[in-house]
Amino acid sequence: MMAQFSQFRLKGLVFLAIVVFALPLFISNPFHYGLATQIALIAGAVVGLNLLVGFAGQISLGHAGFFGIGAYFSAIMTSNYGWSAIPALVVGAIGVAIIAWTVGRPILRLKGHYLSMATLAVGFIIAIILNNERELTGGPDGMPMPAFDVFGWELSVFGQYSLFGMDISGDLAWYLFAGVILLAAVWLAQNLIDSPIGRALRSVHGSEVAASVVGVNTAKYKSLVFVISAVYASVMGALYGHFQGFITPSIASFDFSILLITMVVLGGMGSTIGVIIGAVVLELLPQVLADFQEMEMMLFGLILMLTMIFMPKGLLPTAANYLNKRRSKSAGGDA
């Protein structure tokens, strides 16, 4: 039965679900719930970015821009125009999809450094607009964002809710909501990977020439995955904004883009569960090292460098590889 389970397509998702739902047994402090919620939402965006970077082998150094657009569009529509959260989130995501498609078609022709520079520029442009359109976005001071609502029902960290007859705090409710969103994000990503579309995406990474000679329109698939990963960022950005209750342009900044990429690289490019571990580690690290806050970016740079040198496949794939080797070694010893 164990052998059967190890073959199971969604075993990572099952493990993740166990961790997500077991975590409240170990923490109860609102601060910890808040941190866990924030990690889950950012991890969702990282899962989307991994589709582009880990599976299709492309890069985006401006993904925080899409996260920012998602958050700000929702903030503006819900705060200033009285929209409900879900329509704002959906329309924002469609808008981001259109922007990503329009931008992606020309820039995804570029490869390597050139693509990095182009996506970097996209991120900068978005951050500059958010910083300068004071009337709309509040500029560098940021803007408030109302609680997330569904059909008149509000999800606020200050609320009190009941779930299956249990009283739960707003912090826990938000955490569970973010956890379910992350599980859904992983499930959708995994379905995408295990499909002809996913195979086409991975073939773009493996050999673009091979892909094209068997009929894969590589340009189309690169744009498609760029759009999908941008939509992931947009949706997670909107939810992140609702959760925080206040957003500033820092969520669209270059620093945040680099953080997202570092999470993918550290956790393991092409490993959906791995990149979530990357997100957890890099979100927890500043908490542990709160005294060295001004050295945060330096530390991230160091982590990125060390990962590239010592475990280019990232944390989870390297660990899995190591365990497999040990297992086969001990199995060989028994025989």
Binding site: L188, N191, L192, D194, S195, P196, I197, G198, R199, A200, R202, S203, H205, G206, S207, V209, A210, A211, S212, V213, V214, G215, V216, N217, T218, L224, G270
Partner: protein, 252 residues
């Protein structure tokens, strides 16, 4: 009857180097058609022109009577042309069978909705694609590697895998660029057998190859290139008797 592949006065220059110059020939459906010539004669360049990887400086290529100028390799795959490479193009980030299933790409019509929610039509299509890919891997003789990572396979097995992937797209014509390069005598004999079997299925085979024994044994017609120009064209018997060819090969 029009030829399946028709090449008219095709030229390609890289700067001042004329890699292919004024080449014309045509390949009928069902033939095994080989392109031979000394190193640097322009054989691979010719294949790259035919399969849309290079844009010709002048001249044209027609597939089934339609000009392929401005078509991308993936458009050509849709029209029934597939190929393998001298420098193998295998997706090393996938398993062997996934590489072959990639060849089924055009026959698997999937949209984003059925994919994201993994609807039954998707799993049915995947199952059928896997069966077809298994069959093809057994056909080319690498059936024992189904779920092996491509990066863990031997050179000879990868060469056959690449052919299986090309066949998975159900091509009308398949272009094999030096399939015997780096193979030993036993493997080459197996390859000859495989090419025969492919041709028996009615698939037109175009071949760039250095192994004269292999080429002379299986080709219906041959094209000899030298310095980018056509030196001779004809049946294996005609080529063997051609004094120009003998001179070019023996340096006479």
């Amino acid at each position: 009857m029009t030829a399946l592949v028709e090449v008219n006065n095709l030229s390609k220059a890289f700067g001042g180097v004329h890699a292919v110059e004024g080449v014309s020939f045509s390949v009928d459906a069902g033939q095994v058609y080989s392109v031979i010539g000394p190193n640097g004669a322009g054989k691979t360049t010719l294949f790259n022109l035919i399969t849309g990887l290079y844009t010709p400086t002048s001249g044209e290529v027609k597939l089934n009577g339609e000009s392929i100028a401005k078509l991308q390799p993936n458009d050509l795959a849709e029209r029934g042309m597939c190929r393998t490479f001298q420098q193998m193009q295998i997706c090393m980030n996938m398993t062997a069978i996934e590489n072959v299933m990639l060849g089924r790409h055009l026959t698997l019509k999937s949209n984003l909705l059925t994919t994201l929610f993994r609807l039954p039509s998707l799993t049915r299509g995947e199952k059928a694609a896997r069966e077809k890919a298994t069959e093809l891997m057994e056909f080319v003789g690498c059936g024992e590697y189904l779920d092996t990572e491509a990066s863990a396979m031997s050179y000879g097995a990868l060469k056959r895998l690449e052919i299986a992937r090309a066949l998975a797209a159900e091509p009308k014509v398949v272009l094999l660029d030096e399939p015997a390069a780096g193979l030993n005598a036993v493997e080459t004999a197996a390859l000859e057998e495989l090419i025969r079997k492919i041709a028996e299925q009615g698939i037109t085979v175009m071949l760039v190859e250095h192994d004269m024994k292999l080429v002379m044994g299986i080709s219906d017609r041959l094209l000899v290139l030298n310095y980018g120009r056509v030196l001779a064209e004809g049946t294996p018997e005609q080529i063997r008797a051609n004094p120009d060819v003998i001179a070019a090969y023996l340096g006479g």
